[in-house]
């Protein structure tokens, strides 16, 4: 198992390195990338199959090699119930992105595939690492490739958006580094597993560390006041960039809460939870309202991510097994649904050259029946319809908020629950308004020959649809994985 | 004689040197005031050496080195002033602004 984990990291690295070598690979870059990400996905599935589901709480397949003794950094990898779904999600989304690319001749394909493979390396590394600094290194590996994906292949205002993205996220990760090193200065060890087991830090250092680490992760999640980089980054990013940015990069922030912040700093988490909950709930309503008045489709979906991540953070703020399960479930569900949404919107943008709602016209169901019906399916899944993946994340988060952990103010969390519920209604409102403005309405008969979804696009999208349905109908697929791990670090029987 | 007298004289000499560096426009005069500062240091060192009755006389040893350093600096300083004069036909110290911030 541990060999497979190392393979998960080595393959993208070797793939990217091979692309760097000037040579014939440039022409078949996309196919080469497809092959590499395919193999990585197969390895991820192999890891999932070899995973011992009965002991999902325990870290499995650990690799523990000394890397920089002077700094005390160890190359410590491992996978458990929390990180397994995210690793498989990352491998899947990267594969689907490259499948999508195979259908579209991107310019400078070699550099784009190089960036995607390095992105995949960074993402999978973040989910696998069990050493604080190794987590930080992989957390930052993602920055440069995503910057170039936005800055080179993006829309008109791409340069400004790319700058804002990389500077904002770097500030976040710099503060995160300060937090991590503060934990290290207090405890003397960088090993997450040992830190999560015993809590040697006092209460106020824990609060300080949680605030620093929380801020760093909140920028990436994004939490409400620190979210302004997301809409710009999404509006300008190319389809593939948006899918990975929304599908996985946001998950690294929330995964940080589940892996680093809450298990290692429980008292800090308990002290800061009400504030985290408040900001999360504001994020839900704020995101929903911002979407209601949005003119651009990609910005709308970016703000919807702010809303959904609000629910995930609310789940974390409750500090109960139900809440954190909800957060992790919402994480994976949001990755699938928003990934599909951005694929569809990207397809629309490539066909019509714009993602502005007014210029896209109406009656899409008549013009592009397949794309429009998939868009309706994704929108409905995103507004949290039961029977689809989005519902369980939100419902369990509200249920967690109804009965938060012992030390937390019950009345406050009840108001969070009510506001979150209203936020869900607003979410339904803006998605339906978007659907009615875009897919419904007159469409004036068969227009110029804009081709509907091509087979390649469908092969990229159908797996996501199937997974959304599977996780909607059969939630214990994921909950069975995360519950033991969450109960393990929350110490709740 | 108490050590404070030479120390005060050295400090005064040093201040005059500093004034010279800041106020004079001609580079050569700036160099001369720097020499003044270095000599103030020598005075200070020798005074402390005598006052401490240092067996190693490190004060005086350092004074010798300072004198050598001062000589070297004057040599290079004047050479550079010559180079500046040859290219710019003027050696006003505060006129040389070509390399300022754009």
């Amino acid at each position: 198992m541990s060999v497979l984990l190392v393979a998960l990291l080595l393959l993208p690295l070797l793939g990217a390195a091979a692309l760097l070598v000037p040579g014939p690979l440039g022409i078949v870059a996309v196919r080469f990338g497809l092959a590499v990400s395919g193999v990585v996905f197969v390895v991820a599935v192999a890891v999932a199959s070899l995973f011992d589901y009965s002991a999902a709480g325990r870290v499995q397949g650990t690799v523990d090699l000394p890397w920089i003794p002077w700094l005390g950094v160890r190359f410590h990898l491992g996978i458990d119930g929390i990180s397994l779904p995210l690793v498989v999600l990352t491998a899947l989304l990267t594969l689907l992105c490259l499948v999508y690319l195979a259908g579209h001749r991107p310019t400078r394909a070699r550099e784009l595939v190089f960036a995607l493979l390095v992105l995949e390396l960074g993402m999978i590394g973040t989910f696998l690492s069990l050493d604080l600094l190794l987590f930080f290194v992989f957390f930052e590996v993602v920055l440069i490739p995503m910057y170039f994906v936005i800055a080179v292949w993006g829309g008109e205002g791409r340069r400004r958006a790319a700058y804002k993205f990389i500077l904002y996220t770097l500030l976040g990760s710099a503060v995160l580094l300060v937090g991590l090193l503060y934990v290290w200065a207090q405890t003397g060890t960088l090993d997450m597993v040992r830190l999560a087991a015993g809590h040697p830090m006092g209460r106020t250092p824990q609060i300080l560390a949680f605030v620093a680490i929380g801020l760093g992760l909140a920028v990436k999640t994004p939490m409400w006041p620190l979210h302004t980089w997301l809409p710009d980054a999404h509006t300008e990013a190319p389809t593939v960039g948006s899918v990975l940015l929304a599908g996985v990069l946001l998950k690294m922030g929330t995964y940080g809460f589940a892996r680093v912040a809450i298990p290692i700093l429980p008292e800090g988490a308990a002290a800061v939870a009400p504030w985290l909950g408040a900001l999360a709930v504001v994020g839900i309503v704020y995101g929903a309202l911002a979407c209601l008045a949005q003119r651009d489709l990609k910005r709308l979906i970016a703000y919807s991510s702010v809303g959904h991540m609000g629910f995930v953070l609310l789940g974390f703020a409750t500090l109960t097994p139900v809440g954190i399960n909800a957060a992790l479930y919402g994480n994976v569900a949001h990755g699938l649904i928003t990934g599909l949404l951005f694929f569809l919107v990207g397809a629309l943008k490539e066909r019509y050259g714009t993602s502005d709602l007014d210029r896209l016209g109406s009656g899409l169901l008549g013009r592009l029946p397949h794309v429009a019906s998939l868009l309706t399916f994704a929108a409905v899944a995103s507004l949290g319809l039961p029977g689809l993946a989005g519902f369980w994340g939100e419902m369990l988060a509200l249920q967690g908020a109804y009965a938060p952990a012992a030390g937390l103010p019950r009345g406050l969390f009840l108001t969070f629950m009510v506001i979150g519920g209203l936020g869900a209604v607003l979410t339904a409102a803006y998605f339906l308004v978007m659907l009615s403005r875009l897919t419904h309405g007159p469409w004036g008969g068969p227009g110029p020959t804009i081709h509907d979804a091509t087979p390649i696009e469908l092969t990229a999208w159908v797996p996501l649809v199937v997974l959304i349905l599977v996780f909607g109908v059969w939630p214990s697929a994921l909950l069975g994985l995360t519950t033991p791990a969450v109960q393990a670090f929350l110490g709740v029987p | 004689m108490h050590v404070v007298y030479p120390a005060v004289v050295a400090a005064l000499l040093f201040s005059i040197g500093v004034y010279g560096v800041l106020a004079r426009r001609n580079t050569i005069l700036v160099l001369m005031s720097v020499e003044l500062m270095l000599n103030a240091v020598n005075l200070n060192l020798v005074a402390f050496d005598v006052w401490l009755r240092d067996m190693l006389h490190s004060g005086q040893v350092l004074t010798l080195f300072v004198i050598v350093i001062a000589a070297a600096e004057v040599g290079i300083g004047l050479a550079i002033v010559l180079a500046v004069f040859r290219t710019r036909k003027a050696i006003e110290f505060d006129r040389l602004r070509e390399l300022g911030e754009p």
């Binding site: 979407c291 008045a293 039961p386 519920g421 409102a429 | -």
Partner: protein, 608 residues
């Protein structure tokens, strides 16, 4: 085992209808026809099978529960299971019959429509969701079915989405019910955490303190009000008439709107008196207001929609008064005859090509079958003796007369008044449709939003059969529950109803071509606008939210984003400032240097 088959069959039909009906892909007329035929089979067959199975369950009549899995969410577990009880089988039978009737009816109604496959698939999906609600053993599984029904109503009301109004009506329907559902979800949480499990059986038996019960049931009422279009959240139902008539018949007459009443009946033991009073007051107001509104409507379908609101309020009043069985009995009979009325209305609209009563008249002769079916429906609605409505209304009035609830007088009084007004609006609609002079003139090709015109003949056979099938229970259902038939309340109700009907007949007889609604005089317009409740909601809720949304976008751009951009500009500004110190004058550099040394020396001495 059979019960899970009952639920899964329509779902399978829906999935197959959506995916496989259009093989090979193409939009030409030939492919459309083949696709419609295949979709019809995928729609009708599973529903028929499912109804048959329900029939067998009813005949077998043994309560049983079958649990699929228990989902452990870290907190309170959710049991995905189904439970067969006497009440649920009765309601399921209603759902099955009406759904089958509607599926057959819409084959004819939607002939030649290119999007029929998705239409019939969504109806099957709706049927399976409703059956899931009926047979759910766990409140959260019930909630899942509850929400999927809301989605299906959105998809089906917005079937003719070319017309912006239909799309807006669909959104309104979904959002108002969704608002109610949020309250419903919170109610489930309160109950679940108080009883320690979400299973209905455990909750019914758990001892929960009175105060939490009141809170939980009030929250549940929000969901019920939303789904069953009770007073505060009833505004979406009349607009939902924008959908095709079969949909109105199935969803907005018999099944979905009845789900709310079904849930109250199912958890009736949990409802303490204060909640029932609230329900009673809302029902009383709703009953009378909707009836008056129905009297003033010009559109036939909106008349029936308001009539549904009034009849549902009737059942709610029965529940508030403690007569649970009467309410359930009326639920079933109402489902039957209201679905019948809607199907007949569909046929009439099909015939005339417009929904407005003004365009109808003298249809007695061209459409005899529809005329007799609609007459039976109206008879049941008013409560004339042979029809089932007479018996179920009598049971409710008897229950209300003897109910021990503190607001008994209000309930009984408004019930009697409503019977009178129901008689009035039913007769008015009946007379204006079938009697008086015929007004058939060649109408232009109808806007896509209205039904298609037939050339004067009676509705096709595939539409008449379901009407016939539904007419039978509308007539005979009353006799099945022969039980306690009480002469006194029945007679009073009959007299009041006939009084209302006769009054309208007299007014109509005077001037057949003028609308009897002029009877209301000054009250006509408020009644037609349903007392301006819609406009009130728009002003109080919709417009402020949209304004807030625009405000949020502006602040997000200027304040939050401005702060971020501001830091960037501040950094560049700072660099502009420090630039002046770097103007190339070496003397300035040395001054800076010595000043720095002086500053640090003073700092060191002061600090040290």
């Amino acid at each position: 085992m059979i019960v899970s088959l009952v639920v899964v069959l329509p779902l399978a039909g829906a999935v197959l209808g959506l995916l496989l009906s259009r093989r090979p892909h193409g939009r030409g007329p030939a492919e459309n026809l083949a696709a419609n035929k295949r979709a019809a089979w995928f729609g009708v067959l599973p529903t028929a099978l499912s109804t048959a199975l329900i029939g067998w369950l009813a005949w077998e009549n043994t309560p049983s529960t079958s649990v699929l899995t228990v989902i452990d969410t870290g907190g309170i577990a959710i049991t995905a299971g189904l439970e067969v009880a006497e009440l649920s089988v009765l309601t399921a039978m209603l759902v099955g019959v009406v759904a089958l009737a509607v599926q057959v009816y819409s084959v004819g109604y939607m002939r030649g429509e290119s999007r029929y496959p998705s239409f019939s698939a969504f109806i099957s999906l709706f049927t399976s969701a409703m059956l899931l609600v009926v047979f759910a053993a766990d409140l959260l599984v019930l909630y899942v079915g509850w929400e999927i029904m809301g989605l299906c109503s959105y998809l089906l009301v917005g079937h003719w989405w070319e017309e912006r109004a239909n799309s807006r009506a669909a959104i309104k329907a979904f959002l108002v019910t969704r608002l109610g559902d949020v309250g419903f979800l919170f109610g489930i949480f309160v109950l679940g955490f108080a009883a320690g499990s979400f299973r209905v059986a455990d909750i019914l038996v758990a001892d929960i303190p009175e105060s939490t019960l009141v809170l939980a049931t009030l929250l549940l009422l929000a969901g019920v009000a939303g789904k069953s279009a009770q007073v505060p959240l009833h505004t979406w139902l009349p607009d939902a008439m924008a959908g095709p008539t079969p949909i109105s018949a199935l969803i907005h007459a018999a099944t979905m709107v009845a789900a709310g009443i079904f849930v109250v009946a199912r958890l009736y033991v949990l409802f303490p008196q204060p909640t029932l009073d609230v329900l009673g007051v809302a029902a009383a107001i709703g009953m009378l207001g909707a009836a008056l509104a129905a009297f003033a409507q010009t559109d036939l379908k909106r008349v029936l929609a308001y009539s549904t609101i009034s009849q549902l309020a009737y059942m709610a009043a029965a529940l508030a008064g403690g007569a649970r069985d009467a309410a359930v009995f009326h639920l079933v009979t109402h489902g039957a005859f209201k679905a019948l009325l809607f199907l007949c209305a569909g046929a009439v609209i099909h015939h005339v090509g417009s929904n407005l009563l003004g365009h109808m008249g003298g249809l007695r002769r061209p459409m005899p079958m529809t005329f007799w079916a609609m007459t039976v429906g109206y008879a049941a609605l008013i409560g004339l003796p042979p029809a089932s409505g007479f018996f179920s209304k009598d049971a409710i009035l008897y229950g209300l007369e003897r109910s021990s609830s503190p607001i008994q007088l209000l309930l009984y009084g408004s019930a009697l008044l409503t019977v009178g007004v129901t008689g009035a609006y039913a007769t008015r609609a009946w007379l204006m449709t079938f009697f008086g002079t015929g007004k058939i003139q060649a109408l232009p090709e109808p806007a896509p939003g209205t039904a298609h015109v037939f050339d004067g003949r009676e509705a096709p056979l595939s539409m008449l059969w379901p009407m016939g099938v539904l007419a039978i229970p509308a007539l005979l259902l009353g006799f099945t529950d022969a039980g306690e038939f009480h002469l006194a309340p029945a007679l009073t109700a009959l007299v009041v109803a006939l009084l209302g009907a006769a009054f309208v007949y007299v007014v109509w007889r005077g001037a057949p071509e003028r609308d009897p609604a002029r009877l209301l005089g000054a009250f006509r317009d408020p009644c037609e606008q349903a007392f301006y409740v819609d406009r009130l909601y728009a002003v109080v809720f919709v417009r402020p939210v949209l304004a807030l949304a625009r405000g949020v976008v502006r602040t997000d751009d200027h304040v939050v984003d401005g702060a971020v951009r501001g830091t960037g500009r501040a950094a560049v500004g700072l660099s502009g400032l420090t630039r002046h110190l770097q103007n190339g004058n070496a003397q300035l550099y040395v001054t800076g240097l010595l000043a720095g040394v002086l500053l640090i020396a003073v700092g060191a001495v002061v600090l040290g």
